[in-house]
Symmetry: C2
Subunit: 235 residues, 2 copies
DNA sequence: TCATGGCAAATGATATATCGAACCGCCTTG
DNA sequence: CAAGGCGGTTCGATATATCATTTGCCATGA
């Protein structure tokens, strides 16, 4: 394997006014979220800096933020890596997603205007299109956007950063999951979520969110982890 | 007001092998957790660096981590501050604490050995002592340690960093809360928690945790926020 | 063949230098 | 006396320099 052949950082849209450090953060964030960096890959700040054509300083700051997000771990020997997944931690993360996202959805519900539900439906439609084109990175993006928009409808929310942290920790699975046979189930669950939203039915909403998570990444991830203590890389 | 008279950073035990950046992080983390930095105080990286007798670089990295923890916000004009609290966000944070910590406690329950419950009781006893001596910083520390130990009993837990983030965001209230008249209620709730743990009763545990949070910081904080949209500084 | 010692290169941590933007007082002007 | 403008000062962002560790690799020897 090449010295730096194990990972890549998908390009992102670079807003101006974006600081270099922020750019590095989002670039790496995005890569982890999409599963483009296999777990246990050893990263170096200077290597990332060279890849991004930056000095080590802003990359270091980005890595610090990501370590607070639990997206990477900084080992004692100062090595940086995306954590290896273990079955126990995986189950905890899935349960966390369910608890957090059900809570977030229910608390967003009173704030959700009809127009916002229509926007969500539009995102869902774009997911169908992305699925048709087998554009899995885009599918992952849109799935996150669907959930994010829903939860952010609550103007006082403080939960979204926590949810994103869990997403990040599950990031290495996203790719693998969406390529699995369960993909259409995920989309179906979104239809159920939309229906519950339109009826303002908190109970059905909770069930739909939980099912979405469990049948999506939950089921596929658990399958991938079956039998082995550690998760095989998503590649 | 003096140029730097509004805040101070309580000293902490400095392990060796601790990196300077980590030291800065923990020092500021601790200060926010104890409410030693009033909300809306304008901080500068150079000012913090001078106070800690460090170069700006490690302080900057610590601030980045804290911004990912939602403990500080970095404004567009590059000003750094502990966020102002608003009543809506406060309610969200309290509900978040309840959801997260009830979940964490229930999932810790099966892993909790009798000896660990005894340890928790010992921490609670130290809280009674700290209360007697009116050592509120210590009381806050011990309160966090009580909860932290409980939740960390689950070896696969991934929730603790999220809970700490919420604690941090509520940090500016801790001081104010523990000085309030509700202090003994808090301790009483810990006795109820311990009782539920001994009986391995998940339902009673959930109620006890929720009551602990609601009657502790929840009630006092809500009182402080009553009538005003913004929270007065804890000073 | 495989363990071991050691050296050169790479790395992380931190301090410092530099640069442009933001801020702060003060002074002018109406 | 109030509002606006000007210039020096401070600040954050980033690049670079420095230093102690760590890594990796290769030679040596069991």
């Amino acid at each position: 394997m090449g010295k730096q052949g194990d990972w890549y950082l998908p390009e992102i849209r670079k807003d101006d006014g974006m600081t270099t450090q922020d750019y590095a953060y989002r670039r790496i964030f995005n890569a982890i979220m999409l599963g483009a960096i296999p777990p246990a890959t050893s990263l170096t700040m200077r290597g990332l800096a060279a890849y991004l054509d930056l000095s080590p300083t802003p990359v270091r700051e980005a890595i610090r933020r990501l370590s607070s997000d639990q997206a990477v771990e900084v080992l004692d020997n100062r090595r940086i890596r995306v954590p290896q997944m273990r079955i126990g931690r995986f189950r905890e993360l899935i349960e966390l997603r369910i608890v957090l996202e059900c809570h977030a959805a229910v608390r967003a519900l009173p704030h959700l205007a009809d127009i916002a539900i229509a926007d969500l439906a539009a995102v869902d439609a774009r997911m169908d299109a992305a699925l048709g084109m087998q554009d899995y990175d885009q599918l992952t993006h849109l799935n996150h956007e669907f959930h994010r928009r829903l939860y952010l409808s609550n103007p006082d929310q403080a939960i979204m950063p926590l949810i994103e942290s869990v997403w990040l920790q599950l990031g290495p699975f996203q790719r693998q999951v969406l390529k699995g046979v369960q993909s259409y189930y995920l989309v179906d669950h979104h239809k159920t979520i939309l229906s519950a939203l339109r009826d303002r039915d908190a109970d059905r909403l909770t069930v739909a969110i939980a099912d979405d998570i469990r049948d999506g990444i939950g089921r596929s991830g658990a399958e991938a982890l079956e039998g082995s203590q550690d998760l095989p890389p998503a590649g």
